[in-house]
Amino acid sequence: MNPSQRSLSGSSQSPRSPSSSQPFLSVSVTDPVKLGNGVQAYISYRVITKTNFPEFQGPEKIVIRRYSDFVWLRDRLFEKYKGIFIPPLPEKSAVEKFRFSAEFIEMRRQALDIFVNRIASHHELQQSEDLRLFLQAEEETMERLRSQETGIFKKKPSDLMQIFKDVQTKVSDVVLGKEKPVEETDPEYEKLKHYIFELENHLAEAQKHAYRLVKRHRELGQSLSDFGKAVKLLGASEGNSLGKAFSELGMKSEALSVKLQKEAQQLLMNFEEPLKDYVRAVQSIKATIAERANAFRRQCELAETMKLKEINLDKLMLIRSEKVGEAEYEYNQLKAESEQATKTFETIVRLMNEEIGRFQEQKTLDMGIAFHEFAKGQARLANGIADAWRSLIPKLEACSPS
């Protein structure tokens, strides 16, 4: 399945952009190779970049990257571009025995390819220096960057969110003397938050059933195979025309078992995985929501602190204390910080408003493709089954005595 089946907005591949002299940046993640030994074994990927962006070193560059490099990139972007929904990464840990299975590796490769391309086609994220580093830096440089990460960035966004929440809560409690943390009261934003949290639940349920459906396909395939084998044995022991009929039935059954296993894999990659991807995307939005909350709190906290400092400064000025200069300096510092915090917060709000619309469109497209592939796969399977059984009927008639 071609990974570019997932929709990408803003890239030159979309029908909106005019001609090929447009700036383009396209990346592909290919060639998974298992490196290392034993417990430390890992998969490395070839990342090929083709671009005409001036900021890049050249029209084409190939580097080798591993999963933790992608994580590094995601964390850096999350840190720098607050307010933007950073594309989600496939899960880190997998059950040990599947970690190197061909299907898992291929699914992960696809997901990583989509991840990078989504970044590359986002008009702001594609300008990130970290992205350029990721796509171009030598392997040793990448390794150095990766190991420079402090512990905090290694955590998942949801963990980050929790940490920030706790820290900020404590600070604001102390500063503001309140018990409850400060939150926005914008009703539309409240609605959005509620929507996102609810959406995750619904999607997770759909994804769970989609995964189960994959399993059911495999189980049915297995049953058909076992049934076919037993029927073939029966045919062999019976002999004569009835025996032949049984044997034909058994063989058909086994052939259909193969079809079902194939379809199970298709279903996993083209239906269940996009649903999972959707869930991850929603989780990424939740992380951004947490960031916004932090920014809001920080803004409030600084505004409050600034007020107190202002009062204090006026007091000092009144009594003509020599501490005025220092206090004034501190006050100006704080004012700058407060303005910065406000700007940060407002940027987040603005970006989020843009992002949410784009997100909805993107997801409608992504899901539409997934649904279409689902329908095509099921139709293909059903037709295959119908054809197989139908072809057996004349053979049965031929064997039948009456």
């Binding site: 609810e198 959406l199 022991s237 009929a245 899901m367 493709i369 037709n383 049965l396």
Partner: protein
């Protein structure tokens, strides 16, 4: 568009999505006459190469498809026990052996709880269930065309019938009666149990009615026709025997049960296998014989000689083993199909909820579009789920033949046991004759040495000669019985060979046609969804 968003019940949610399909319902479980409604979702999926199975029955609604099999040659469904298949329809003629005008239709219905009238220690008494047994027939044995009669019987009566048939029809493949206690799990309710038993009894009686020899039996006729107390004794009640002879057995016979009686009624006992508790001496002798057969150095005087029979038997045994394995796999296949249908349905439901959610919370147009797409997915998934369920119902019916056949094998094994026990009787009597002869000889030799004769020895010789005569007569009877059973075995084997061939072919065909038909229907559902989402396809 969805009009009933405020419904909270999930099932109703599913239904509200299918408003564009005017004929679908989830509650309709009965066969409907085809309605003159143009099915808006009808997919012109006619393959030019071969006929589409939708043309076999193109139901106007999915409800109709529920109990309509694609296989038109199977017998009518048993949705209600009081429905007789129309004796003049082509379907029922496949049920009856013989000409199309012969029919014997039996149904079991209306279980009643009754009180045991006789003395019982428990106050309130023992309760038992009786069943109404209705028969319609035109067989001459039952009084000619258009006969119809009903009786009430309890399970105990069925046991009696079964026992008597096994005695009279040794060597035949007599259908095996339902178990005495069929409660598989402790938590089964009484009415479930009674219903299960009713179904089992009906199946059993119908099978009896289909056996070309048994259906004409007096025992069955009495059971089906005579009102009131069942006029069959529990089994031939043989009084305990004395050591060397046989006691005249008191036989209560109604009707004209023909039994070969040669030289006294006692000889007919020989035509019965030894029964525990009553024929102790005979059992002992036959056991001695069978041990001698197995462990003795010399071969018995009479042996199973029919090679063709032994070959057939072996083949049947192997067939039974393989069939058993297939039956097991068939069960797991059915389960997988069921699971698939269930999960597909759950997936559909999840998308119903998503659709509702996105529609209610829609701010962007993209959400409405997505909601509409999801609704299409949900509809397709729910439809497919229903199709799987129907497919499975039909599959179970077809593959049930496998289980039925395994039941037939039980009857076959019983008949083979009849044969081997009859053979054992013959062997025992042969050995008995040999030993009697040698004793007579010894005594004659010994007594000839005494001049003038030996009064006591002479008397003994006379006794032995008398015993020899009786035994010889008995052996003649036993020989005849053995031959009779062998012939029954042979004719039955031929009968079931043909029947088996036909039955299994029709089963296979039905199974395959069914699978193909439903797969086609499912393909139509998914192709529709593919069309609806075609805007998203890439080159």
């Amino acid at each position: 568009m969805m009009k009933q968003e405020e419904q909270s019940h999930d099932e109703q949610d599913m239904e509200s999505l299918l408003l564009d399909d005017p004929s679908s319902t989830t509650t309709n479980l009965h066969l409907q006459p085809p309605q003159p409604v143009t099915f808006p979702d009808s997919h012109p999926l006619q393959s030019p190469k071969s006929p589409s199975f939708n043309s076999f029955l193109d139901p106007p609604s999915y409800a109709d498809a529920i109990f309509t099999s694609f296989d038109t040659t199977t017998s009518a469904t048993t949705t209600s026990s009081s429905n007789f298949p129309n004796p003049h329809s082509p379907d029922s003629s496949s049920l009856q052996p013989g000409s199309e005008s012969d029919y014997l239709l039996i149904s079991v219905s209306d279980p009643h709880k009754e009180q045991e009238l006789a003395t019982s220690l428990v106050p309130g008494g023992n309760t038992y269930y009786t069943y109404l047994i209705t028969t319609r027939t035109n067989l001459p044995e039952f009084g000619g065309p258009g006969s119809e009669f009903t009786v009430r019987r309890r399970f105990r009566d069925v046991v009696t019938l079964s026992d008597r048939l096994s005695e009279t029809y040794r060597g035949y493949f007599i259908p095996v009666r339902p178990d005495k206690s069929t409660v598989e799990s402790q938590v089964m309710q009484k009415n479930e149990f009674v219903e299960q038993r009713r179904v089992a009894l009906e199946k059993y009686l119908r099978k009896l009615g289909m056996h070309p020899v048994i259906r004409k039996s007096e025992e069955l006729r009495l059971f089906l026709e005579v009102r009131g107390k069942l006029p069959l004794v529990k089994s031939t009640d043989v009084a305990s025997r004395m050591l060397d002879g046989a006691v005249k057995l008191p036989r209560q016979l109604f009707g004209g049960e023909a039994v070969a009686v040669v030289g006294g009624a006692e000889l007919s006992e020989v035509a019965q296998p030894a029964k525990g508790g009553r024929d102790l001496l005979r059992i002992f002798k036959e056991l001695k014989q069978s041990v001698a057969n197995d462990w003795g150095g010399t071969k018995p005087l009479v042996m199973e000689e029919d090679k063709e029979f032994m070959e057939r038997k072996e083949r049947l045994v192997e067939f039974e083993q393989q069939l058993s394995a297939v039956s097991q796999q068939a069960e797991s296949l059915v389960k997988s199909q069921q699971d698939m249908g269930e999960t597909m349905g759950e997936l559909g439901l999840a998308f119903v909820k998503l659709t509702k959610f996105e529609t209610e919370e829609a701010i962007f147009e993209a959400q409405r579009v997505r909601a509409s797409d999801m609704r299409n997915v949900a509809t397709a998934a729910v439809k497919a789920s229903r199709l799987y369920r129907e497919l499975n119902t039909q599959t179970i019916k077809h593959l049930d033949k496998l289980h039925e056949y395994l039941g037939t094998m039980l009857a076959v094994n019983n008949a083979f046991t009849d044969r081997s026990s009859a053979l054992l009787t013959v062997q025992t009597l042969s050995s008995e004759l040999v030993s009697l002869n040698s004793r007579i000889e010894k005594l004659e030799v010994a007594s000839s040495k005494i001049f003038g004769g030996d009064k006591s020895r002479m008397r003994k010789i006379e006794d032995l000669k008398e015993a020899h005569r009786v035994t010889e007569n008995a052996k003649t009877c036993a020989d005849r019985e053995y031959e009779r059973i062998k012939e029954n075995n042979r004719s039955e084997l031929e009968r079931i060979d043909k029947e088996r061939h036909d039955d299994f072919f029709s089963m296979l065909r039905g199974f395959v046609v069914n699978q193909a038909g439903y797969a086609e229907k499912m393909a139509a559902v998914w192709e529709k969804l593919a069309e609806e989402t075609a805007t998203y396809s890439r080159q």
